[in-house]
């Protein structure tokens, strides 16, 4: 049974508006507008970086000039004017910061409003946060507790100074600057991000997280996250993000690299809530992100879980290179698009080792005039004996004017591999809604209930502390989903 007009109208009025859309009125230290070698040097100088990193940045920048924009994804947007943006913005007050008590109250207030209180006693028990505001990390909590366990959790700009060998060894080892244009720009102009190092045999005693906030107008955010899990270690890491509501498009091009040694496990979760643009598709973040992990060691495991509700355009494919024998890669994704949002997201599972396994569960929800594409690659090399993959892609459509697409690529060079793919497309049925309403559940609550049911398999992989938040976000993001 087709969805009725009334349903669409109710879905349209669902939830509250984008709650993170406020601007923090704070004085910023900006780089001159535009992009050139001088800007790259400016950023490097701001961070007081060693020569090797400046050289790497410049090398990447020069290469970037020669690279074409990726054309293969199903997203469309006007050509980006890279000169019409700032590549460095930092709150003036943040530069001389020694501890939390010196932090500008406006910043504390900002994070509180976003539901991320930065004072340790106010925080969720068991979650450590690195707070990145525009181009700089302003606070990293619980560092002392973590240090006792041997865990390094700090801004990547600080890691460059304090742990140069580790950073030099691993940065760019999973995502080289030649990988794609966005990743290449990132290394040229990245300003901060998070570094995590879990020593051999250590089970990280807390959830680690980074919250990325874009505040300044006309700025891009380019951050890098690097997580190294030594033999037999375990870490669960979560990133969240948001940005003010603005009419312009702002670029966010991040790079995340994960490295898991023998028997190590990295669980990486994302709740992506960048400003999605308004009902007419004006404004919103271009989220062009390269995330990749390598299961270097035998029996290692990398698990990506993402809930993508924000951004005008989402272009990201968190991937796993399954190099170690018996290693495991997982990708659990909810991508929700509404109004004019576009999402082209999925994963790549590259099976190199023997007995490697991968599992892909993707749930796409499209509403309004949005477009939602799952794009996934499963590649099995000739040496990857007995590799296994299971892929399941489900799409849920709300209304008639949205699009859902599934683009699976399979490249198999080993006859012993078992690759399974299942896909489904469904609609929220008028019958389901009526059934709920007959039991006294309002139309809005019914839509939320049904959509969250659709996503359950993915949401249950989030750390418990964040699962409820993700459910709420899914409900709020359906606001105004009419065709």
């Amino acid at each position: 049974m087709p969805i009725s007009n009334e349903t669409l109208q109710t879905v349209q009025s669902l939830g509250q508006k984008y709650a993170a859309g406020f601007i923090t009125d704070i004085e910023s230290d900006l780089a001159p507008k535009g992009l050139n070698e001088e800007i790259v040097r400016f950023i490097s100088a701001k961070k007081g970086e060693p020569q090797w990193l400046l050289d790497l940045r410049l090398q990447a920048y020069r290469h970037w000039l020669t690279m074409p924009e990726p054309q293969w994804s199903k997203v469309s947007f006007p050509t980006i004017d890279y000169q019409d943006a700032f590549y460095y913005a930092a709150p003036k007050s943040a530069s001389k910061l020694k501890n939390l008590n010196e932090l500008d109250p406006k910043l504390l207030e900002t994070y509180k409003k976003l539901g991320i209180p930065l004072r340790e006693q106010e925080m969720l028990a068991g979650v450590a946060v690195d707070a990145v505001f525009d181009s700089v990390s302003i606070v990293t909590t619980f560092r002392e507790n973590l240090r006792k366990a041997g865990v390094i959790f700090c801004p990547i700009s600080e890691a460059v100074q304090k742990y140069p060998e580790l950073v030099k060894k691993y940065m760019g080892s999973v995502v080289p600057y030649t990988d794609n244009k966005h990743a290449c720009l990132n290394i040229a102009v990245f300003t901060d991000g998070t570094f995590v190092y879990i020593p051999e045999g250590v089970r990280c005693p807390m959830e680690l997280s980074t919250y990325f906030r874009i505040n300044e107008a006309k700025t891009g955010q380019f951050e890098r996250t690097l997580i190294v899990a030594e033999k037999g270690s375990y870490v669960s890491y979560l990133e969240g993000c948001s940005a003010p509501q603005r009419d312009e498009n702002q670029m966010h091009a991040a790079v995340v690299e994960l490295i898991a040694m023998d028997d190590a496990e990295i669980k990486y979760s994302t709740i992506q809530n960048w400003y999605p643009g308004d009902e007419e598709g004006k404004g919103g973040i271009y989220n062009f992100v390269t995330k990749r992990g390598i299961c270097k060691g035998a029996r290692s495991k990398i698990s990506w879980t993402q809930v993508e509700t924000g951004s005008a355009i989402t272009w990201k494919y968190p991937s796993c290179i399954l190099q170690g024998n018996d290693s495991i890669g997982e990708f659990y994704s909810v991508a929700l698009t509404n109004h004019y949002q576009q999402a082209d997201t999925g994963t790549k599972m590259i099976h190199l080792g023997k007995n490697t396994k991968s599992r892909i569960i993707s749930k796409g929800i499209s509403a309004g005039k949005s477009n939602n594409t799952y794009r996934g690659l499963v590649r099995v090399s000739s040496k990857a004996k007995q590799a296994r993959n299971y892929t399941q892609c489900d799409s849920l459509l709300i209304g008639k004017t949205c699009g859902a697409h599934t683009v699976p690529y399979i490249e198999n060079k080993n006859p012993t591999a078992i690759i399974e793919h299942e896909a489904s497309t469904s609609k929220i049925g008028a019958d389901q809604l009526f059934y709920c309403r007959q039991r006294g559940i309002s139309q809005e609550e019914a839509v939320t209930l049904i959509v969250n049911g659709f996503c359950r398999e993915v949401l249950q992989h989030l750390p418990m502390e964040f699962a409820v938040e993700a459910q709420k976000l899914v409900a709020i993001s359906l606001e105004g989903s009419v065709g």
């Binding site: 009725s4 009334e6 049925g429 008028a430 019958d431 389901q432 009526f434 059934y435 709920c436 309403r437 007959q438 039991r439 006294g440 559940i441 309002s442 139309q443 609550e445 209930l449 049904i450 969250n452 049911g453 659709f454 996503c455 359950r456 398999e457």
Partner: protein, 251 residues
């Protein structure tokens, strides 16, 4: 409790209900029997407020309110419950979550406090045991992978949990074996009270051996053709519906 006056309903351009008159008092159990396609489900859906029905005439009062003006969820909170002939599946939403959401939505509308999780679970367990249901079912998605009989039991469970003032059961007996039928009947009988009414829609007389109705109606060709006591059901069982079409319209 419920008063239907001269109700006319058109579905997809065809008049399906052609002037229904029916009055149910508090505490009474009414049964509607009728052949397939006579409009039984249409009547139950119209009372519950499903979209897609053109009400071309008549009115319905429920607990003194104009029922046809109310949104489905408001009818539910006023105390109307429909056990569906074909219960709907909601993947990923466990029956427990669904029931908790429903109970608390109803309570909120009535200005009552939400049930404490412990109270809720206690109530659910009690009703579940009464109906001889497997607790595992509550963890599965609403009606997903349930057998026909399990779906019907789930409807009765929901009825028992939500404690309506008027419960409409649309062919809750069809597809049930005799044991399931008895459990369902017991579920209904347990809920009988001087302030609660039932409208039991059925194709067969069988269920009425276990739930004694006060009044039996025969619905055919969009009209109530005859009204009587429980003996009418037995008569129908013997003679079939042929004699009840009235107006010499018999097929």
């Amino acid at each position: 409790m419920l008063n239907i006056e001269n109700l006319h309903v058109t579905v997809a351009g065809r008049e399906v209900l052609k002037g229904i008159n029916l009055s149910i008092e508090a505490g009474k159990v009414h049964a509607i029997m009728g052949p397939n396609g006579s409009g039984k489900s249409t009547l139950s859906y119209v009372l519950a407020g499903r979209e897609g029905y053109d009400i071309t005439g008549g009115k319905v009062a429920f607990m003194g309110q104009d029922l046809l003006q109310m949104a489905p969820e408001d009818r539910a909170s006023a105390g109307l419950f429909l056990a569906f002939q074909y219960p709907v599946e909601i993947p990923g939403v466990s029956t427990t979550t669904f029931l908790k959401t429903a109970i608390n939505a109803l309570r909120k509308k009535r200005g009552e406090k939400e049930l404490e999780p412990v109270q809720f679970l206690k109530l659910q367990k009690e009703k579940l045991t009464q109906l001889g249901m497997d607790p595992e079912m509550l963890k599965r998605g609403v009606n997903v992978g349930f057998s026909g009989g399990e779906k019907k039991r789930n409807e009765v469970l929901q009825m028992a949990m939500l404690e309506p003032k008027l419960a409409i059961l649309d062919e809750t007996d069809s597809g049930l074996d005799i044991d399931a039928l008895k459990t369902v009947a017991e579920g209904v009988n347990n809920l009988r009270s001087p302030t609660r009414s039932f409208l039991i829609i059925t194709h067969y007389q069988r269920l009425l051996n276990y739930i004694k109705p006060d009044v039996v109606h025969v619905l055919a060709r969009g009209k109530i053709q005859k009204t009587g006591g429980p003996e009418l059901a037995l008569l129908l069982e013997e003679q079939g519906y042929a004699g009840f079409y009235g107006d010499g319209e018999a097929a």
